[in-house]
């Protein structure tokens, strides 16, 4: 989240898209309800009328996968309206705080859905260069936004094609509802108004998921909604510590603190830094003239991380042990899908599943279950015996045919261990142990400690280079590892004094400091102790905007609303007097309110040469409407899902995302003649993810006892189905049995003149535990987003019949 949960209450208009917040994030509705009490409008955009829609002022149905068309049309609406009524928009924000005014390379071209030359599913170097600014050091800008090569004009040209009629033909949204959505949300472009977007996996789990989110960013920047209270782009994370696990590098492309994973071309630390550390870009002709380029500090954070990991062994002479980090091959996909493709081909021999249940949660579950059988060994650390641990005795297989050796590590549940969780709003909150774990179950940290200690013992006498990383690893937790010791190490120490570092501003690149995760530096200080334990319930913010800065701690530096320097105008006056985030800048007092993004004076009050631009994490100091770093182009363009009911993309001659990742292992593709309905997967309130925690709890099982699917009355009638019938849902990958819930809440959508039906598939069931049933992911495909490879769980072709 750019903002945080409580801040939702400050919004004037909340658009929930790609999320069923009421059912999957019920607590968020405490704040949505408060905003609505204040008069805020709630818009829900989703293929299905859910409990979230039931609370919304406007429910806009949308064909699954048509998000970019939907948002593209809104962008077009704003750009057209802005010409006629610039007084209704915060133009100063757009001109001065975004790259709308930047002049783009004259080679840039867009033709029929494509942004240049493509080779083997990737844009060529030349194409990627054509997306950049004409000058990448000191780019020219036109704050009047008139230059035909400025971002604003290119944006206008690009989205002029997204007229409301074409959009509604693609999305299936009734045009009068769509007009109401555009009008209502875009009213938040006014100075002092704020609109927020709440999204979840419905937005991201597409072959163009990243560009879906980019489209939200563009819309929100056009409306001046980033950095302000009640605004932002707010990802509702799917499980309680997803934010924390991302921060700590659960993903395959990053190290803790969003540092890039080194690759095998980097050579050494300098080579790595050359690739990943951006140079400052200094735009010309803007009111701000200084880009802080925070990532210029890359080396400090990387060296401090290496010092935290390798301790005394890391010295300037040996590149701080950079050579000991595993190096990625840029051509290999290390994500979940990539890993299971490799397993399917027999190239991965061992798998460690830690609180992870891919046999139910992974796409194309039948294929992934089979791939597990190619492993020599599998470790499952979980609080229950899950489907992955029991894959060798799943229905339809003979255990004797499977050679994989499976180890089970009983893990402690969240209330049986101590540590921190980081919520969607980036708050790091300490949790205490409430009960002892049962039997031999242990906290994950203790399990990990036993393993590392044993590994170090096994390799202690080995001199091989490949064992060096384990031998030199600093692991000095003594007899009993504690979450407290790890939290201190994550914050970081000064090498000279051994004292905790006060904040990442004090980290250095010479090896004199350590920090396990630079963005968490300041969480644990000598003066204040472990700030994740703070429980201050007074909102100390001068305007009482619900910041509660003394409750727990928030990265970075306890800044509760990211990009908050964009919440004030060039003179330092908040856009919104009622809900200021930072305010009253005085040379001696600095800013009041939230911890500012860079503490410099307002642009117009600073001396020339030091007028800091607000978006300090971007090398150009402004937010990117034009985003040239993504795989498939600088602007989101509407494509069809990998499996689409349409014969052609109504927006261009390019049907699919040309850069999407398509798996090869047991990945059949369905066609609309055989599978005419759109399948989409989701969760219910009563069960959790792969269900292994909730399908074993009788009070939850009684509420949602069986695997079910949802479909509309028209489709049920066409297939001769009644409510409560047992049905079979099929795709090219497989079929499942479920109870049919026939409902008025799924209506056919008129897409390009044809009625299209959705079938909603729950993801929670499997063959282990108290309540069992078929897994929704038997139906989904091994295809993923072009940038992240997140699977396209949300859209596939299927059909339904009576079982």
């Amino acid at each position: 989240m750019t903002n945080h949960w409580i801040d939702i209450r400050n919004s004037d208009c909340i658009m929930i898209i790609g999320s069923n917040a009421a059912e999957n994030h019920p607590i968020s509705f405490k704040w949505v309800a408060e905003a609505m009490e204040r008069g805020a409008k709630l818009i829900h955009v989703d293929p299905r009328f859910s409990r979230t829609s039931a609370k919304a002022h406007i429910y806009a149905p949308l064909r699954s996968g048509a998000d970019i068309a939907f948002i593209g049309g809104m962008i077009n609406y704003v750009l057209t309206d802005m010409d006629k009524h610039p007084e209704n928009y915060t133009m100063e924000y757009l001109r001065q705080y975004t790259n709308a005014a930047f002049i783009v390379n004259s080679d840039y071209g867009f033709n029929d859905g494509i942004f240049g030359e493509i080779q083997d599913g990737r844009y060529s170097e030349a194409a990627r260069n054509s997306w950049k600014y004409a000058d990448m050091n000191t780019p020219a800008t036109d704050p009047a936004l008139k230059d035909p090569r400025c971002v604003f004009q290119l944006l206008k040209k690009h989205y002029a094609r997204y007229d409301a009629d074409t959009v509604c033909r693609i999305t299936g949204t009734p045009s009068e509802v769509y007009s109401e959505v555009m009008r209502t949300f875009c009213e938040t472009g006014r100075r002092g108004k704020a609109g927020t977007i709440m999204y979840a996996m419905g937005a991201t789990q597409h072959t163009y998921g990243t560009q879906n989110i980019r489209s939200y960013a563009i819309l929100q920047l056009l409306l001046g909604n980033i950095g302000v209270a009640g605004g932002g782009i707010n990802a509702l994370r799917g499980t309680s510590n997803v934010q924390g696990s991302t921060d700590m590098a659960l993903l395959s492309h990053i190290l803790p603190g969003y540092l890039s994973v080194p690759n095998d071309q980097d050579g050494n630390l300098e080579g790595y830094l050359k690739r990943v550390r951006p140079a400052a870009i200094s735009p010309r002709n803007l009111a701000g003239d200084k880009s802080l380029n925070w990532w210029g500090n890359y080396k400090k954070y990387m060296v401090s991380l290496l010092k935290a990991w390798y301790g005394e062994a890391a010295t300037a002479d040996n590149d701080f042990c950079f050579s000991l980090l595993p190096k990625a091959d840029p051509k290999v996909n290390y994500t979940h899908i990539g890993m299971f493709e490799a397993m399917g081909e027999g190239r991965i021999k061992g798998l460690w599943c830690w609180g992870q249940n891919p046999a139910v949660g992974g796409p194309n579950a039948t294929g992934e279950r089979e791939a597990l059988g190619n492993l020599d060994w599998l470790v499952s650390a979980d609080i229950w015996l899950n489907e992955t641990a029991e894959f060798w005795k799943r229905p339809g297989v003979k255990p004797a045919d499977i050679d994989t050796e499976v180890f089970i590590l009983p893990a402690a549940a969240s209330y049986e261990k101590e540590g921190s969780i980081t919520n969607s709003g980036r708050w790091v909150q300490w949790r205490y142990r409430a009960a002892e774990p049962p039997g031999k179950a242990m906290a994950d940290l203790e399990l990990m400690d036993l393993i590392v200690v044993k590994l170090k013992e096994l390799y202690a006498k080995e001199e091989t280079p490949q064992s060096e990383g384990i031998r030199k690893l600093s692991w000095d937790y003594g007899d009993r590892i504690t979450a407290d010791a790890v939290a201190r190490e994550i914050n970081g120490y000064s090498g000279a004094t051994g004292k905790l570092i006060g904040g990442f501003g004090a980290l250095s690149d010479d090896g004199s400091t350590s920090s396990g995760n630079w963005i968490y530096c300041n969480m644990y200080t000598e003066a204040e102790g472990n700030k994740a334990k703070r429980r201050g319930t007074v909102d100390g913010h001068p305007a009482k905007i619900g910041l509660y800065s003394d409750w727990a701690w928030c990265w970075p530096m306890n800044r509760r609303i990211l990009y908050n320097r964009a919440s004030v105008d060039l003179d330092g006056r908040p856009w919104d007097d009622e809900h200021p985030v930072i305010l009253r800048y005085e040379p001696e007092m600095k800013w009041q309110g939230d911890v500012p993004d860079g503490g410099a004076a307002p642009v117009n009050k600073a001396p020339r040469g030091n007028r800091q631009l607000p978006f300090i994490m971007e090398p150009e100091g402004v937010a990117r409407i034009w985003g040239f770093g993504r795989a498939e182009g600088p602007l989101p363009e509407a494509y069809e899902p990998w499996e689409s009911p349409l014969k052609k993309n109504l927006m261009s001659g390019t049907m699919y995302n040309p850069c999407a990742f398509v798996g090869a292992y047991r990945n059949e593709r369905g066609t609309p003649d055989k599978y005419p309905c759109i399948g989409t997967t989701y969760r219910c309130t009563e069960h959790w993810q792969t269900g292994i925690m909730t399908r074993n709890l009788p009070w939850l099982v009684e509420m949602m006892p069986d695997m079910y699917i949802e479909l509309g009355e028209d489709l049920a009638k066409a297939r001769g189905l009644k409510n409560g019938d047992r049905v079979t849902v099929s795709t090219a990958r497989g079929e499942i049995s479920a109870v049919a819930l026939v409902t008025k809440r799924f209506k056919p959508l008129l897409v390009d003149g044809t009625a299209v039906h959705h079938i909603g598939v729950l993801i929670h069931w499997g063959y282990s535990g108290k309540s069992t049933g078929d897994s929704g992911n038997v139906l989904t495909a091994h295809v993923g987003d072009a940038n992240t490879t997140i699977p396209e769980f949300k859209t596939f072709l299927c059909d339904v019949r009576r079982a």
């Binding site: 009421a22 059912e23 019920p26 607590i27 509705f29 405490k30 949505v32 309800a33 408060e34 009328f49 409990r51 979230t52 829609s53 039931a54 609370k55 219910c684 309130t685 009563e686 009788p698 009070w699 939850l700 099982v701 009684e702 509420m703 949602m704 006892p705 069986d706 079910y708 009644k722 409510n723 409560g724 019938d725 109870v739 049919a740 819930l741 026939v742 409902t743 008025k744 809440r745």
Partner: protein, 263 residues
């Protein structure tokens, strides 16, 4: 001062945290259920399920609405169950809760017949069955705490407080946002008034609430029960005898009833 709970259906998100919180606090058993083509389960209030959510899909001239309502004992100001009870097992407390003493219950089930909301439920599957129902978490109430369900509600749909204040709050909400609510506080007058109050965007009949007048339901049972105490004693003895005699037969019949509902 009588306590109460205000349920605002426009704020309820149907998450059913209240349903689990009730079972958790009261340590009630889970039921063996099946998906019958609805997101609702268990199917009814029962001896093990003292509160449940009802989901109603309404397609009307104002468009489609999905309305969530919570069912549990209404804790009547003048409880018919209490006056119908021949052994005085029920008690209307000064806090508003209608509680009962399971030790006194003889299993006659008069209360089930008397209740206009169909709340008290019988432990059909226990060897010595009692009537059971929502107690307003009377144990919590006495300790100054809100009922478990109201504590768990994340969206502000359930407010706990003094009944008189909640009634005023309900009217204030309706007055402030007349487009959002029908002008009716259910429970203000129904059956002589109840501690649980409801406001909603749709008429209460459309979500299955019984249409009741302001008369106390107890007026129908009061004179009979109070006028002829010796008769009551005889009836009580007789009923107890019949009850023990026919327990097994009833139990079987009851099981058939429930399984029919589940089909």
């Amino acid at each position: 001062m009588s306590k109460g709970v205000l349920f605002d259906a426009t704020k309820c998100i149907g998450c059913r945290a209240c349903q689990v919180a009730c079972k958790s606090w009261n340590e009630n058993r889970s039921e063996d259920t099946a998906n019958r083509g609805t997101a609702e389960n268990p199917p009814h209030l029962s001896a093990d399920t003292w509160t449940k959510m009802r989901f109603t899909e309404i397609e009307g001239k104002d468009g489609f609405q999905w309305v969530f309502t919570k069912l549990q004992c209404m804790h009547c100001e003048h409880p018919a169950c209490a006056t119908a009870c021949i052994v005085g097992a029920f008690e209307k407390t000064k806090e508003g809760a209608v509680v009962y003493d399971a030790k006194k219950c003889i299993g006659c089930r008069y209360c089930m017949v008397a209740c206009p909301f169909g709340v008290p439920a019988f432990e059909w599957d226990r060897p010595i069955p009692y009537i059971r129902k929502c107690t307003f978490c009377f144990d919590r109430l006495k300790g100054g705490m809100a009922p478990s369900c109201a504590t768990a509600c994340p969206s502000g749909a359930l407010s706990f407080g003094d009944r008189a204040e909640l009634l005023a709050e309900a009217k204030r909400r309706i007055e402030t946002a007349p487009a959002r609510y029908v002008p009716h506080v259910y429970g203000e007058k129904e059956a002589g008034g109840t501690c649980w109050l409801y406001i909603s965007s749709v008429p209460f009949e459309s979500v299955g609430f019984p249409k009741l007048g302001p008369e106390r339901m107890s007026v129908f049972s009061d004179p009979l029960m109070h006028a002829v105490p010796p008769v009551a004693v005889v009836v009580a003895g007789l009923m107890t005898g019949i009850y023990w005699f026919s327990k097994r037969r009833e139990k079987i019949a009851a099981h058939e009833d429930i399984s029919e509902e589940k089909e």
